[in-house]
């Protein structure tokens, strides 16, 4: 492959795919992968976490109040993707069909149609109106982990809540890494006054109590997913600055960096090509823990009621409900176990990543 690309005039090694290919097969990365796998707990935690995350990405196909597939009158309908009016099935209203309504179900089955439901017939905001007891209802065959105090299915909310927590954590981690690495790189590489002023700024910045500030912001404007993300990003980027700065301070004195400077390369190129790869080791080691911290912060805000908009599926909100409904222990227990399990998995993965990048772990 690399030959054909080279003939086409493209530097195969310079393409990111080429780099990835080389990086994957380089002996040091092979050793890292072996060290990672040697930590059995972390290795399995990674697979469990990845499977749960990928499954939760398809939450709409697992827990939904709309059927996956409906055959009706010779036609095939996919209510998960398309909103069909009730009239379509011979009903009265022009609004979207409520497939949980026995009347609609009857309309469909009457004409020989079939309905294929997802595993759980509730979405995160579906209210079970047929509860035999006042909400919150205890676990039953219909609601496996019971319902919350608004009659919504806890399993469905946990699945959606897990997804939103992890996604939020991942996006926040991604952006705080970019900002943090850039800031650390600039400080470490240029040193001197840049470093001094930036460091003092960070000291002042980190002394602002972030949680209170977010609570104030939440009081003024209603926090959406992205506003929350942006506000948290203002404070979370500093986590990486220290390590990256240290790596750059060290890296700028390496001989191959001096050689690059003697060749007349620009600072930006030197930073990106020669020093950044060294700092990536420290960054990658920190990532799982930053992800953990991001998820915890979101949960804390939701618990306090200053997080995602009301009605959003959220683990923090589940915990808050558990606190408010001590007579319904399934709420508190579910929230606790899901969060504990998710955070533990990430800590285990983080430990394995740390092992993988530990240069002293060569002789094992």
């Amino acid at each position: 492959m690399s030959d054909t690309v080279a003939r086409a005039g493209i530097n195969w090694d310079a393409t990111w795919l080429g780099r990835l290919n080389k990086a994957r097969t380089s002996p040091i990365n092979q050793r890292r992968w072996r060290n990672f796998k040697a930590n059995r707990r972390g290795y399995w935690a990674m697979w469990v976490f990845l499977s749960l995350f990928i499954v939760s990405l398809f939450a709409e196909f697992i827990a939904n109040d709309k059927p996956l597939l409906v055959t009706f009158d010779g036609g095939i309908y996919t209510p998960v993707f398309v909103a069909y009016p009730e009239i379509e099935f011979g009903g009265d209203f022009a609004t979207e069909a409520d497939y949980r309504d026995p009347f609609v179900q009857e309309l469909i089955t009457e004409k020989g149609g079939t309905i294929i439901w997802p595993l759980i017939r509730y979405s995160y905001d579906t209210i079970n109106l047929d509860l035999p007891v006042p909400a919150p209802a205890p676990p039953s065959a219909e609601n496996w982990l019971g319902t919350d105090d608004q009659g919504r299915d806890v399993v469905a909310r946990v699945i959606y809540g897990f997804r939103i927590s992890v996604l939020f954590g991942l996006i926040l981690t991604f952006f705080s890494s970019i900002v943090g690495v850039t800031a650390g790189a600039v400080q470490g590489f240029f040193g001197g006054w840049t470093d001094l002023l930036f460091q003092r700024f960070i000291e002042i910045w980190t002394s602002i109590p972030a949680l209170y500030l977010i609570i104030i912001v939440a009081a003024v404007i209603e926090p959406t997913f992205w506003i929350l993300l942006g506000t948290l990003l203002l404070f979370s980027w500093v986590a990486l600055v220290g390590v990256v700065r240290a790596e750059f301070l060290r890296g700028r004195n390496l001989e191959y960096v001096a050689a690059a400077r003697a060749l007349g390369l620009r600072n930006g190129t030197i930073m990106f090509k020669h020093v950044l790869p060294n700092a990536m080791v420290a960054t990658l080691t920190f990532l799982p823990f930053i992800l953990n911290a991001s998820i915890t912060t979101l949960t804390a805000l939701d618990f306090l009621g200053f997080g995602l908009p009301p009605g959003s599926p959220s683990l923090g909100e589940l915990l808050a409900q558990g606190k408010n409904n001590l007579q319904a222990p399934w709420l508190g227990f579910t929230g606790f176990f899901v969060i504990a399990f998710m955070l533990s998995l990430l800590v285990f993965v983080g430990e394995a990543v740390r092992d993988a990048f530990d240069p002293r772990k060569t002789l094992e």
Binding site: A6, G9, I10, N11, D13, K22, S26, P27, I28, R34, L254, E255, Y256, A258, A259, A260, R261, A262, L263, G264, L265, R266, K273, H274, P277, T362, L363
Partner: protein, 545 residues
Amino acid sequence: MSDKTHKLVEVTDLSVVFTQDGQRTQAVDHASFDIAEGETLALVGESGSGKSVTALSLMQLLPYPPASHPSGTILYRGQSVIGADARALMGIRGNEISMIFQEPMTSLNPLHTIERQVGEVLEVHRGMRATAARARVLELLTKVGLQNAEKRLGAYPHELSGGQRQRVMIAMALANEPRLLIADEPTTALDVTVQAQILKLLKSLSREMGMAMLLITHDLGIVRKMADRVCVMQDGQIVETDTTARLFASPAHPYTQHLISSEPGGKPLAARADAPEIISADNLKVWFPIKKGVLKRTVDHVKAVDGVSLRVRRGHTVGVVGESGSGKTTLGLGLLRLIDSDGPIVFMGQHIENDSWSRLRARRADMQIVFQDPYGSLSPRLSVAQIVEEGLLVHGAELSYDARRARVAAALQEVGIDPATMDRYPHEFSGGQRQRIAIARAMVLKPGFVVLDEPTSALDMSVQAQIVDLLRDLQRHHDLAYLFISHDLKVVRALADDVIVMRNGKVVEQGAADQIFDAPQTAYTKALMAAAFELETAPEGVVAS
């Protein structure tokens, strides 16, 4: 060979194997040798030949596993060391056999005073306490020639020079009057003048105390000076064992012959008399400010380079010699304006001392630098082609990908690296090959002037000679001007037309190479020459201790 009962150490058929990830690496391959009481045995070989591993296995200090001994016995005074229990080994380690290492800075604990560190040995092995120990520590430090020993007891390692630290290490090793001292490259990290002092000390101590020595070194000069007998190691095997005199007079094994004949040699190419001047500097200064107080006032300067004038002509080599801290490297960096320097620099007819970075960037193609450490100067994450090509991306932006590859291939070919290997990574190459790649990176830009900053110091002796030959060839073909920085006077003699001797940032002596090597004028230069070529110490006061 004398009677068996008198042998201190007998090693028979020793093998050492390291197993990692299922891969077996044979470090020592059926080696046999012995050391008699009071004898100095030298173990010579190039890096990776298994010298240090052999020595470490005498004290069972290797990491077991992954290390293992598939064959062989080690007898210390008739007792087997391999398989001995921990208690027996404790009695031997540090008590009967002591060791000193190459790097005196990292071998001493930076947080403890030297009294405490030497005293600790006495406490552990002899149970000595406070006053008794203090007296003994003082005695030992005086014995190893540490000046003002009494005042130095409370000193921390960073307050001592490299030579002084090595003396403290020796004092620790001698604390229990061992029968055998293993010295693993004891002077490699030291300056030549200090090296001569330490070697002299070791020799007199071993004679005085009747102590046997196992001297591990790659430097044949040291072997000739110090050892009674020599074992030559190659790839884990001992290929030749003989008395020092016989080995140097008539080496039997081809590898020994190769080692002995591989000292850097040859004569510098004399530049043509009318060769144009390529770079010159007058009264060049590099001063680093020392700042104090809240306002960071500059109270003084570290004068790293203090008033050096030099001129280099096309096809001409100026050697800069001096001990560590003399400002040689700073001079090279200041001349290329890689660090701020003061004083006029004329490069190819134009003043560059006030040029901005961006203007200098355009000139960088003509002035290049090769660094000392072939492991540190190549980025481990780029392939050889990417490393060599880097300068072309800046200075030959108009070149197509194929044209660049062709230039890289030509440069690699010229330094003796097969261009077919250009997509490999640096770790797949040996130290000498890496240094060739670093040279190719500079040469691909076709510079006029190259600063060579200790390009041979990190390399084995025979590889040094090859690199010196390569540099000379390149100079002949391209009419290059070199500023050759080195502490190794043998290499400088093989390359330089003119020599500058530096000390503490100042020029001690400057002139034609022949004149400086054959008839040095100042006491310092004389001491440097004696230490470098004869391993002789200088009279008190001329050089640092």
